[in-house]
Structure formats: structure tokens, C-alpha cells
Amino acid sequence: MTVTLIRGREYARLMSELPSPVRSLTLAEIEHQRDRVYEELERGGAIRVYTNDSQHFLGVLTRDQRLLDAAGIAQLIENGHIPPLDELVAMDDRGELP
């Protein structure tokens, strides 16, 4: 059996489901700190992404599994590799899927 001790502050963060750590970086800074950014994202962090001149907020970089999955499925549909989900469900009902 493995027992992991989670201290109060870390416990509160995990229970809140909010990303942590969160930083604001430009695209160039992200590229420059690639390994650190990747490690923080893997730990449940998020990066607020700005253009290199910091004038435009582009969005949030995350490895939140729900968002990754949603984006992946949407891209498969948009690129025509799978039909829309309702059609896919209907195909499954008809026994047409593998």
C-alpha cells in the first residue's frame, strides 16, 4: 500500500480543481522555456498565452484531459475522419461500427 501525504495548501488546490501553477507568458517565452512549461502543464498548471508584443491575449494553454479530448474529437469530425457524434451513435445502433 502506498500512502501519500498531501499538505493543506496542496489539498485545497487539488480539491478546487483549479489549475496550478498559472503564469502569463508570450509565445516567445513559451518557446524559450519549453521544458519548464511542459512540466508545469503536466503538473496541472495552465499558461495564459499572449502575443510576443503582449498586446493580445490568445488563450490558455492546458493539458486538462477534458479539453484535450474535446479538441481531439472535434478535430477528427472537422477534418472528416469521423462522422458527427450523433451519426456515429446511430451507426453504432445499426451495428455498423467495428
Partner: protein
Amino acid sequence: MRTLIAPLDPGVESQLRGTDRKRGEIARRYIRRLALEPHLGYRLARGRLASEQCRAVRFDHDHRPEELFGPRHRSPRRGDEDPGEAGPRWRIVYWPAETPDRELRLIVVLAVGVAHPKPGQPSAFELAERLLNIIQQERR
């Protein structure tokens, strides 16, 4: 949650047809089993496929996919055998994903092939990465 197996890519269909009949049939039965057991495969640990949370099922000609509690007997590996050459040689590489409402889970089979092929031939993992690159390209 309902699990759907995405229609197989023509490349994967071709890989299945390229295997011998018995292994092809076993692979298809494992793919159907993924609808019941989407986490049947092990998590890939390296490279692009790992960062995309892809998984792989090991199989070979003596497997029975309908045995839910594992094969009755495993082929023993001799001490002088390279781990890469012992055990099931074939892999079904797939990408599982869930919709945000968690009502549907989609399984996309990326490749069916040999894990450690002879030099010059692509492994199942290389084939999977190629397909992943293709299906994730932006629409032109």
C-alpha cells in the same frame, strides 16, 4: 458512458488485411472488446503517442480476446531471450477520448502491427504516429 469504436481508417484496414487471417481476426476481436474495456491496453510511455495518452494492446496468434481474465497460459520467456523478442509481438495502438459531458467515449484505432519489426519496416508505433499526424492535420 457509452464507448464507440470509430470506423477504421483505410490504412488500418489495410494493415489488418496484411496480417495472416488468424491474427487479423484476433485483432478485430480485441478492437471490439475495447468497446467494453477501453483501458485494456497499457499506456504508452514515450514520445508523441504518450503525450496524446495513447494506449496499446499486446496480442499474438495464441490469444483469445474473449478471455476477460487473461490468457490461460502464457508463453514463458527463456533467460537468453531479448525481452523485445519475447511475448506477444503484435500491438493494436489506439487513442481513447471522452466527450466533455462524459456521455461518450471514442476509441480511434491508429495502427495494428508488429512492435519490434525487422530493420527497414515500420513498427506499430511508427504507423500509429503517422496516422495521428495525418488525422490531426488542419483541413486544407
